[in-house]
Chain length 444, copies 2
């Protein structure tokens, strides 16, 4: 609340907040959701809130890295294909099988990849270095277990010597008990879930996905698939922003097209509070006589409760000038009131709602990546003085250029659908020459 | 099936397939899933299979881009703050409101953003250019509708002239009926969903998300959260690969840890066929005597049915040498049999299963992005001759370098969890000097 706009008397031109001021105010008010213990599959994409320490070393025991024979190295001294070491096979060691055979001098145990090294054995020779117990030349595979002369007994001829620990993965060679496996703040993708499962974690402490209720307002709105009457348009915001909320990592609930009546809107919002960590409305935030969100929410705050209520302001940006933000209801659920034009609401969501969702998830980086790129355009691009313009564009990483798509009109949803970035024209700039380097927000 | 390995007699060293040969064989056999009509919210992330044509122009009618007054331009000629044009307000036009007032000479209608331009009016003046009907100076906002002297009647003073069509968004200025809105092959993200909703599409024809059943095998496997007995380890593959399948866009079903028994495995897989567009197994594909997947699936094909059955082969890669691929069951459901080591299975999934899933979704680009990066390492990195090595690494876009994480051992799941790329060492290379430029697969 650092602007002087609040004190501007009605009827006079108001000062505008900057984009940064608005983002800062939102992020200062948003708190990460309380952590919960989730089953591993449900924690995908969530942020870890605990330092996870390895409870048991991996692998938990010395084991074979090959299919072959567990041997004593002294028995193989000088072995060659012509003069192989002949060992007595004392049994089979498969991963997860029962008691281990003891390997004595002159003996070997057939062993599978991942199976524990049996007592007495010092190394493993791959099956390809042996006759596989078949009495012939070197083999490429083992005979299946349990099929007649299957190689788990009798003799095996080994054609090469092996050093101590050859083809043995030592206990703890991956991670040691007590090591830090993953630190708090890690986002859990598939490889992190692999590690957590491997060290035996069935559940993990994370911040949950925020539940975001998206609500569009406007008596002119009709649901897609229905017939348009005179003066009506289709509701696109509730679909687009619910999708964008999901894309940001949230669980999104869509409430389409509440009519322009403050009482209906207020009661609809109150009904939704039970399932909302964040409310996002679109429309009704401007200076019009029917701006229902403003009318309904300007007075929702408890006056005795600091920080409650919704604050409406104008930002020095295009599109997306009128914006509202605050909290509502007994739990002070945060609410973002975005403008109603589809492109304005989408750009506003990217700049304000997405960082709020990411912050609730506990992400350290809440903003979209920003790169510098040269403007690709046939002629200078104009921009309003004193407003930061977010042009929809296409970014080409190979050339380092970004080209505007469609015009600057905030209603060009067709152009938005073909854009993959927002080209940022600073407040003080009114005309940008082609080739000028600008910030570009990558929409991923 | 272009390798000569198939004809290599058992007991001799087999030829190896290349990574490309295996990928090509898989993609040649995978077909995109049949398209279905999905409600818009369910189509997020899916690939469109129809060219979507705009059924009705957007906006569907001339409408106001500002809150203000709809006027006839001749009435404002020469208007200034000192000598304003005084117009009779004949009514209110809000978005979605009923019949429109006719604006005659000397008249104005109060109009809200998005509302249809009423008959007779030629332009809109923003409320900030007027006294808002209050009889005073310029105002910043409108009075709310329906509250006493609310500005929807009486007189309004306009302080500036306006040209024809000023602050009017023309019908069809966003998209015209008959235009191509989105072409087949487009991936539906939030902005594309915005456009589809805006043009009234409640459902859309897309390829559905593939249902992928992930199944780990191994008698030694215990579910995370349970106690490990002697010789046991935790099942991580079913968790990691189900997460990776989800990450690729699939609906994933996890079947954890089937014991090493061919009959059990075969019946488990048969049970899962009903909900699988793709099956992914891990473990049991090598040369060992207990390699159950190989034992169970080598003979599943219908001999009269060309292309059915699972083919097991060795690839010239590390990790991930043993691989199986084919189809199973009456619907010839594709099945990928990946190795059982956690890192091998994850790398194999990235290289083979992810492209298969993306191809089933109808994506045009099925592979992870590959960039060139310089090897960041304190000493040369060694690599086995004749094998393409995929080192787990961290990529730094700012420096264009990639540094290996952990060692080359295929069991280092801890290192995998800290990697964000795979550094590719070509088959013929046995040692890589620091600074050498290599392909790097970005894991996103």
């Amino acid at each position: 609340m650092s602007s002087t706009a609040e004190s501007a008397p009605a009827g006079q031109s108001e000062a505008l907040w900057s984009v940064e001021e608005h983002v800062e105010d939102i992020l200062a008010a948003i708190r990460p959701l309380d952590p919960i213990e989730l089953p591993l599959p449900d924690a995908q994409g969530c942020v870890l809130v605990e330092d996870v320490v390895v409870p048991v070393s991996l692998p938990p025991f010395d084991n074979s890295s090959m299919d072959g024979y567990a041997v004593r190295t002294a028995d193989l001294s000088g072995a060659t294909p012509e003069f192989p070491a002949v060992l007595t096979v004392v049994g089979d060691v498969a991963a997860g099988s029962g008691p281990l055979p003891e390997v004595g001098p002159g003996q070997a145990a057939r062993i599978m990849t991942g199976a524990p090294l049996p007592p007495g054995a010092e190394a493993v020779v791959p099956v390809e270095w042996t006759d596989g117990g078949a009495g012939g030349g070197a083999v490429a595979t083992m005979l299946p277990a349990g099929e007649g002369a299957d190689g788990a007994s009798g003799e095996v001829r080994v054609h090469r010597p092996a050093g101590p620990r050859a083809h043995v993965r030592g206990a703890g060679s991956d991670v040691q008990a007590g090591d830090l496996a993953l630190e708090a703040g890690t986002v859990l993708g598939p490889p992190q879930i692999a590690l957590l499962a491997a060290i035996g974690r069935g559940t993990v402490r994370v911040r949950p996905r925020p539940r975001v209720v998206v609500l569009s307002t406007g008596s002119e709105l009709v649901q897609p698939g229905e017939e348009l009457a005179e003066g009506q348009i289709y509701d696109s915001n509730s679909f687009a922003l619910a999708a964008a909320a999901r894309d940001a990592g949230a669980i999104a609930y869509r409430v389409g097209a509440v009519a322009d009546d403050p009482d209906t809107l207020r009661s609809t919002i109150e009904d939704q509070l039970v399932r909302a960590d964040l409310l996002v409305t679109t429309g009704g935030v401007s200076v019009g006589a029917y701006d229902v969100v403003k009318a309904a929410l300007s007075s929702v705050g408890d006056e005795d409760e600091p920080g409650s209520g919704i604050d409406f302001r104008k930002l020095a940006m295009q599109p997306g000038k009128p914006q509202g933000f605050g909290s509502i209801g007994p739990a002070h659920t945060p609410l973002l009131a975005l403008p109603g034009n589809p492109v304005s609401s989408y750009v506003s969501f990217e700049l304000f709602a997405r960082p709020a969702i990411r912050a609730m998830m506990g992400a350290t980086e809440v903003h979209r990546p920003v790169v510098r790129a040269r403007l690709a355009a046939g002629k200078p691009v104009s921009s309003p003085a004193g407003r930061r313009q977010f042009l929809r564009g296409r970014y080409d990483a190979a050339t380092g250029e970004a080209a505007p798509v469609g015009g600057a009109g905030s209603h060009l949803v067709a152009a938005l659908a073909h854009a993959d970035c927002l080209i940022v024209v600073p407040e003080e700039t009114t005309s940008v020459e082609p080739g000028t380097e600008l910030d570009v927000v990558l929409l991923g």
